[in-house]
Symmetry: C2
Subunit: 230 residues, 2 copies
DNA sequence: CCGAAAAGAGAGCACTGCTCTTGTGCGAGA
DNA sequence: TCTCGCACAAGAGCAGTGCTCTCTTTTCGG
């Protein structure tokens, strides 16, 4: 059986978790670039080489943290979303947007890790894809519900983008009008543009009341994906 | 006089330029995290310590590269913009957007440096501000011209954002309607969200025809800031 | 119970940013 | 024109990094 593990296996997952915890602490404190395997090992009272029994390289540890970060963000978004009235699609949308922003402000270095520039020569492995998709799926669900309800304004789609929109609908967002699918992807990217600019300091001396500014921008994004009140 | 420098001063600026060139090559090849002072020194046939006569630290070298990158992007945008008809504000807008995207795709690591996550514990010094503002100023100019022309649709601004909008107009975009100023800043951030998502791989298996997708999104951004054809 | 596998410890390699000390050649002032 | 000072270069060295290798200890399964 897999539940009744020996002490060995149990210790392994405990140590693995401890390593990730320590690494996450360092990440939060200093950022990804200063995350050091040796420092993590020191904090845990082990020697650095021992750590390689758990993560074959620094990049693998980073990958684990990336997946966790995606999951944490996804869960934060889903939790917030669950509290919004299921009938008000605009409110659902803005709630998710604000949850993303709040999570980013609370976990800046983790946000950088997943939505900032990809680290060194590092290419995110396929493993991260499911976790990365969570927020996107949430947004798709909102727009889909609105399309059914129906509280979705018609969205124009130029002819040259029609194939692309239909492919999106087929591959990732069934039951969505192609125009909404394209608009949704754009809004999704734009949402993270807003968050990233605020977090990375581009709004320095440009936007002061960032809370209100973001709320307004998120509401406009809702309109851009065709969501309308009621 | 400042033009007739001695050989010494001339050598200094030449060496400084050579260091930046070599560093830029490494940056383009491997990314900011792998940019190494020692490797730069090796490439130039000097010893690593000699390099500190020109840049007091690795971060200072990076800062110089950041400023150059902002300038390069700004110049690319301005050059493209100059070729667009001065009367078609939508076209001017999309031209600048596409120039930004093209520059980013051509210089991914430099783009990461300026619009990705800020490196280590590094906070961009004030020196970078003027260079960083170039693209923004360009966009402000377009919207301002449109507001005069008049080819600017009215933009609603909720009461809670009115002070913010008025401050923006006062501090950075005189002669703009407050609603347009707020919308412009949002569109500016959203533009870089689109570019960043494409560049950093978030569109993997999501957007295929990225050229067309971006063109469409940029046109919608133009509409969002109130630009209308003719 | 005992052999295999897993885990930890330690030394070591090649690399990094950065500092300090020691020459050396250019150039501006007397 | 000479000379003193300073900018520059070179080298050694320190503390830190990721990662590998070897050796010992611990633990588990047949």
């Amino acid at each position: 059986m897999s539940t009744a593990q020996g002490a060995r296996a149990r210790a392994r997952i405990e140590v693995t978790a401890a390593i990730k915890d320590a690494a996450r602490r360092q990440l939060a404190a200093e950022g990804a670039a200063k995350l050091s395997l040796r420092a993590v090992a020191r904090e845990l009272g082990m020697v650095s080489s021992a750590l390689y029994r758990y993560f074959p390289s620094r990049d693998d540890l980073l990958t684990a943290l990336i997946i966790d970060a995606y999951d944490s963000l996804g869960e934060a978004a889903e939790t917030a979303h669950a509290k919004a009235a299921a009938t008000d699609h605009v409110r659902r949308w803005t709630t998710v947007c604000e949850a993303v922003r709040a999570w980013a402000l609370a976990h800046p270095h983790e946000y950088s890790l997943i939505y900032g520039s990809p680290v060194p020569g590092y290419a995110a492995p396929e493993t991260t894809v499911p976790a990365a998709a969570r927020v996107g799926l949430l947004l798709i669900g909102i727009v889909r519900d609105a399309a059914r309800d129906p509280g979705l304004a018609g969205l124009p789609l130029p002819a040259e983008l029609r194939p692309e929109g239909e492919r999106m609908v087929r591959d990732l967002a069934p039951d969505l009008p192609p125009g909404a699918a394209v608009a949704l992807v754009a809004a999704w990217a734009q949402l993270f543009g807003l968050v990233g600019f605020e977090l990375f300091g581009q709004f320095h001396r440009v936007v002061e009341d960032r809370e209100a500014f973001f709320r307004h921008a998120a509401a406009r994004l809702a309109r851009d994906v065709g969501l309308v009140h009621r």
